[in-house]
Amino acid sequence: MSQETIEQTQTIQDDSLAAGMEVRNLSAYYGDFQAVKDITMPIERGKVTALIGPSGCGKSTFIRCLNRLHELTRGARVSGQAFLEDQDIYASNVDPVQVRRVIGMVFQKPNPFPMMSIYDNVIAGIKLNNARKSRGELDQIVEHSLRGAALWDEVKDKLDHSGASLSGGQQQRLCIARTIAVEPEVILMDEPCSALDPIATFKIEELIAELKERYTIALVTHNMQQAARVSDFTAFLLSGEERYGRLVEYGPTQQIFTNPQDEQTEAYITGKFG
């Protein structure tokens, strides 16, 4: 117990803030269809930025652009810039694989690798990064990551079980452990609680609050209460008659929810549509 506390304080103290992001004029397409148009906004370092908006507004497409995952879909492409500190991740000399190693992602549906054990799920990313680590180091990473994802106590006695044997909420925390095991700068979360029950959701939300001590987080959510509870900044996206998603308003969460500047934002947060 005491060792755990020491470890946690150490990790907070010995680390400077994670990198932030700055998105400039980013547009995303599926073939000829423009899904997202001309978004410019920051993802503040060490904060939680929520992306809200009605279904089909392009918020999931947008977040998938932030680690260059969008372009893996057939026919999909992106224009504009997204800076991780001073490096544009869309610059021509940047390898998208390297981008994804520093900008991790947690998905809507928990997607542990079912043929791997819990232990192997956590170190899946480490193995990819070609780091030669001893068994002892790996054990440490596994324990540290699972503790970081608030899952250690539930799985420490069954690390060799399949990742798929866990409950939905545990699976999602396993995916978070897998993501933080590679020590990313930014964690993107695409509606991480939408497949979970309220108790599992609460645990993930608690976890997000802890994770922002150490990582920059962008969170897509359908749930406005969730955005209000866990985020520091909120961006409201909307696709109007033109069908592509655009950024309507961005600001501190407090301001978006109490004093929105745009009447569409106000209509959305007060439940008049969406």
Binding site: L69, V97, R100, F113, A124, G125, N129, S162, A164, V182
Partner: protein, 332 residues
């Protein structure tokens, strides 16, 4: 006050149970009849084979029939082990050669090929499955056989011959009509089956699995290796087993190239062989006695049993591979 309004509810439930259930029962009966008919057919086939082969087991013991290699109708000696050997070895060679190519092609089609190329490639490979086996046989006799004899087999002999143990596989004079050539033609014939099923299985791998591996910073190859193949491996194993089952029973093309001439087992793949299916096809009309005929039908029985054993082993293999995964469907 509420009592004054008539209540509609209960009268809307029809009390005529028969009328509602009759259609269901007829449909259930029809499907059940189909299921029973298939089982009955299998049972009839097995019973018929057992009945028709009874004479041979009166003539000589099962052990002598199964485990000796002398097949001499003139002296009434019937040992099928060389046929079993030829069948199994040529099929296994076919499987080993076909599976990597088929799975590779399936991965290419699903993961790499541009969308416009998917259909033509799949269609062409599946077209191979539609070619009658006699045509494969002719092709094997006139083209594959000579190529094996003059190019591939001498090459294998030069490079692998000197290696101890492995070299035994490539002993003898290359003739192009041997177990290896039969294995190669079988590989070509079962390739479309394995490819088509593997492709379906790989397409079933959820994109969330691919995303998950990509998001950790996997290259495409690492993603396929780490997410796609493990998820699909049970299905790929099933595809391979279906290919093996087809190879075990394949008759015509194999008969034309395997040589049909061995009652000894040397271990060399350059030796002419004989498969169970070829033996039945070649000798059925020559059987001039009850015992000879019943011996040939007994070969069919052995072939059927081996095919069933392979299928059962395949089920066990797939079950053991899927075992872990089945948990996920429970939660999903």
């Amino acid at each position: 006050m509420q009592q004054s309004a008539p209540v509609r509810g209960s009268s809307r439930i029809r009390l005529d149970v028969d009328a509602a259930g009759r259609g269901d029962r007829i449909f259930e009966g029809a499907t059940k009849a189909g299921a029973i008919a298939i089982l009955a057919l299998l049972a009839i086939i097995i019973l018929l084979l057992l009945f028709e082969s009874r004479n041979i087991f009166g003539h000589q013991g099962i052990g002598q029939f199964l485990f000796t290699t002398t097949w001499d109708p003139v002296f009434r000696e019937f040992g099928v082990f060389a046929f079993i050997y030829g069948t199994v070895i040529s099929s296994v060679i076919g499987l080993l050669l076909a599976t990597p190519v088929a799975v590779g092609a399936a991965i290419y089609i699903v993961e790499y090929a541009p969308r416009w190329l998917r259909s033509p490639v799949s269609f062409t490979v599946e077209l191979l499955a539609a070619i009658p086996s006699i045509i494969y046989g002719l092709w094997a006799v006139f083209i594959l056989g000579p190529v094996m004899r003059f190019h591939i087999e001498p090459f294998l002999q030069t490079w692998f011959g000197p290696i101890p143990i492995v070299g035994n596989l490539f002993e003898g004079t290359p003739i192009g009509r041997d177990i290896l050539t039969a294995g190669v033609i079988l590989a070509i014939m079962i390739l479309p089956t394995i490819m088509a099923i593997s492709r379906e299985v790989i397409m079933q791998v959820p994109d969330t699995q691919r995303d998950g591996m990509h998001a950790l910073g996997a290259t495409k190859w690492e993603m396929i290796q780490g997410a796609v193949i493990p998820y699909a491996r049970a299905g790929i194993a099933g595809a391979a087993i279906l290919g093996l089952a087809r190879a075990l029973g394949e008759t015509m093309a194999v008969t034309m190239v395997i040589g049909n001439a061995s009652t000894s087992i040397t271990g060399s793949l350059f030796e002419p062989g004989y498969t169970m299916a070829s033996a039945i096809a070649n000798q059925f009309r020559e059987a001039d006695s009850q015992v000879y005929l019943s011996a040939i039908i007994a070969i069919a029985l052995v072939l059927l049993v081996i095919a069933m054993i392979v299928n059962i082993l395949a089920r066990i293999l797939i079950y053991s591979l899927v075992g872990k995964q089945s948990n996920s469907s429970r939660i999903g």
